[in-house]
Amino acid sequence: MEDHSCGSIEHIRRRTLLKMAGLSGLSWLTPLGTALARHSEHNPSKRPLSLIVLWLEGAPSQLETFDPHPDTEIAAGSKAIKSRAPGILLGEGLVQTAEQMDSISLVRALTSREGDHERAIYNIKTGFRMDPTLKHPSIGSIICHQLHTDRDRTVDIPRHISILPGQMPGRGGYLGDQFDAFKVNDPVNPISDINAWVDDSEQKSRLKDLSFLDKHFLERNKNNKAVAGSLGTHQQQAALKMMSSEQLEAFNVKDVSESERLAYGDSPFGRSCLAALRLIEKGVRCVEVTLGGWDTHANNHELQAGRINVLDPAFANLIKELKKRDLLETTMVVCGGEFGRTPHVNPLGGRDHWPHGFSMAMAGGGVQGGRVIGETSPIVSKTETKPKSLLKDSHPVKDIHATILSQMGIDYEQELDTPIGRPLAVCEGSPITSLLDV
């Protein structure tokens, strides 16, 4: 049957997709792959290899975090502190982050057209607005889909991980579920579903029976070339390999010294940032760590301060440790939420949703530290109908995606075919070059 969908070219069918997934899955399990990888772990181009997203779900207030306007009406009493980077002010709670600002830059005039949490989260994680006709892949899924080097073959654990997953952890979208983020909770607890419920000998016995059953099923389906590539058991092998992998140790932050652990703050988010660092060291491509609780429609200042107390040591120490381990150059760190909060405080002392100029902090992976891109106005009328006109050097959300992808050496303008053959650009934004120029 001919495909009449938009932009139809040769139909990429599920078989092709699954075969590709199957081949890639098998290849990284081979000893040859591991051997080759050992010889190519260096990164001569010094491109970023990994991405850490500190996902502040619920939408932090830019005025209390990365874009304070002290002593103005919209500050509503919020104060600011100086940072290590000349001229850059931060919200008063970000004391430790301020010390790392020579490595961090701020994009302060981000805009989107989504003021609803669900739609905005989708927008920020994928770079696209929700579309009922297809699901776009998240940034981590695109990176894992696009980057397959020898280094990836040494990784026994999933290359896309979401720690403390929130409302919408990274999905593979039209690239396929195999690119979904692997979800784990507070790393102080064991990873879900990783340990067998029976002892080793019983597990071996179960697997022996499973092998007997699957062998017969595969034999029975040997003539079915239509599903040959997708029937295989490579994910089973991958799961078994993961279950016994020493790399799982990266999740185990309990054995890290107390002083090292507490430097990130005594919180699930802090521990997760520590785990993210350890996972990056093992070769994981993208780790997303969620810190929720930023949706402060009432009592904004107090609630934001509470969240900032958790964010500050974790974010600052992550940057510090990446630098110390010479990993900041090869790891991009992005920190922000789905939109900002209103310049005006409502009668409940809260700030509401504000997609018309909010902030994102970026560091590492070629992002030059100590810079501020864009500017929001300290004077915003409640009845302002075109708030975007009050911004200087604003950027749409998709420019963040283009910046990350281009830095990682991914052709962000290329078109990928969705399963129904619809060609779709990986990203529709442009890199924010002023963040990167040396």
């Binding site: 699954l18 929700m130 006709t133 039209y174 396929g176 195999q178 007997f212 003539n223 994910q235 799961a239």
Partner: protein, 556 residues
Amino acid sequence: MNSNRLNLVAKNVLFLLVCVGSGGVLSIFLTSPTALTAPKSWKPKSNRAASVTEVVGSIDSAFDDQWSDAGLEVANVADDWLVARRLSLGLTGTIPSVQELKTLEQQPSDQRISWWVSRLLDDKRTHDYMAERLARAWVGVEGGPFLLYRRRRFIAWLSDQIESNRRYDYLVKQLLTDEGIWTDSPAVNFYTRNIIPDSGEEDKPDPILLTGRTVRAFVGMRIDCLQCHDDFLDNIYVGDPDGPRNGEQTDFHSLAAFFGGTRASFFGIKDISNENASWKYQLLHDDEETEIEPAVPWSPELRPEGMPLRKQLAHWVTHPENRPFSRAIVNRMWAIMAGRPMMEPVDNIPLDGPFPEAMEILVDDFIEHEFDLRRLIRLIANSKAYRLESVADHEITAEHERGLAVFPMSRLRPEQMAGAISQAASLRPIDESAHIFVQLRKFGEVTQFVQRYGDPGENEFEQSGETVTQKLLMFNGEMVNTRIGDESFSSAHIAGLSPDTETAIETVYLAALSRRPTEEEVGYFLQRFEEHGQRERGVMQLYWSLINSLEFGWNH
């Protein structure tokens, strides 16, 4: 005879009685023909003699011709238990219980599938599951605007409509035209789902979202590209179905204009008058917005006049002569039941075809029989193409699958997987007749499992690869292990009450794979049970292996 010997004899007699009695209990429990009541809609004569059989004959002939013309070898017809498993997965989202399979076996061989379809059509699980599957295409799976959108209420309403076998055209007409509050008039959730929160236009369900959704869901076409530009890739045809033209941007927005007068408020969804309704849009090469008049992209003669705009649209969409409307649901129903549609993708059927002849026969019958979904399900279930094996002695290619010369294999969907695990560990069906605790436990487990396993959302027929997360969940997840573990009634029940190990093995196979084991499988597992020593342990091990097997995880 001394007292010790007397005791020994008494014990032996007692043991024999227990064995015989237990075997009898298990046998009665599993095989009693009266265990399941006959389906209310089961009318063997009418099903055999009436036009269902004749129409199925026409469908089968059409497929025979299609396969012959394409030079495709055809797979053999599958056994009834395998077809029953497919039907259960497609209609209820789970697999048949051992009790149901045993009862099915006792029906006359030429009536088994018809009997089984009748049973499933009477089953509340079918109404709920079909409602969920259709709702995915109509309102998606996301949460939607807080308070204004009640997805559960919408599903419950839809389930009631399916249970009462409401005419499909009436159902869609109500969906497109209803007014009122989202709780009292659940159909309006179709509109409130498309309100964009915090957009400044919360009083208007978005006409663009509604247009894309309506055309895909109810006439099976993707015209979303026309929102922004004319079709320049020869992919979207509209106009005269016999001589179509390329779609234009105005085709999309002329449809959107039918929603230009729809408003949302605390009093619910309501229309303003046609005169005051308007839809303005800045077309691609224009400098400013222009007012766009409502118009339909084909068969304008089917659009009535003198009624509110949404009613005009609903009449046009559901008109018996608007064949894309019937084609869309025929294709979707086939996809829901078989895992793959007759024409891919499920919601992009070209206006001008070509269409498989069998699809056109189903469309004709659907229109002639007052848009009867139950009859459509019966026709599909009884067709030869639906009942073919998924394996064959000859090589099966993608062409065989596309041409339906073989049953297309598909991975179980997350809720099917969870439903199947739950059912596999129970000998009786977990349906409305099950204890409320059992039903609640299943609901909780399935919800948790699907959340972890990953829900594909509304693009449900786009197959994607299995993930490591899914495999780990199956290997080591709580649901599988508690279902087959010590808490499980079935492992102990089967181990304790089976008169011999072979019966225990057969029962577990029936429960998990809906088939009996082969001789080789019996031989292998008899030896394994011996190695395990305890029969219950053997049953648990076998359950785990079967539930994790490839055969369990595929609809085949």
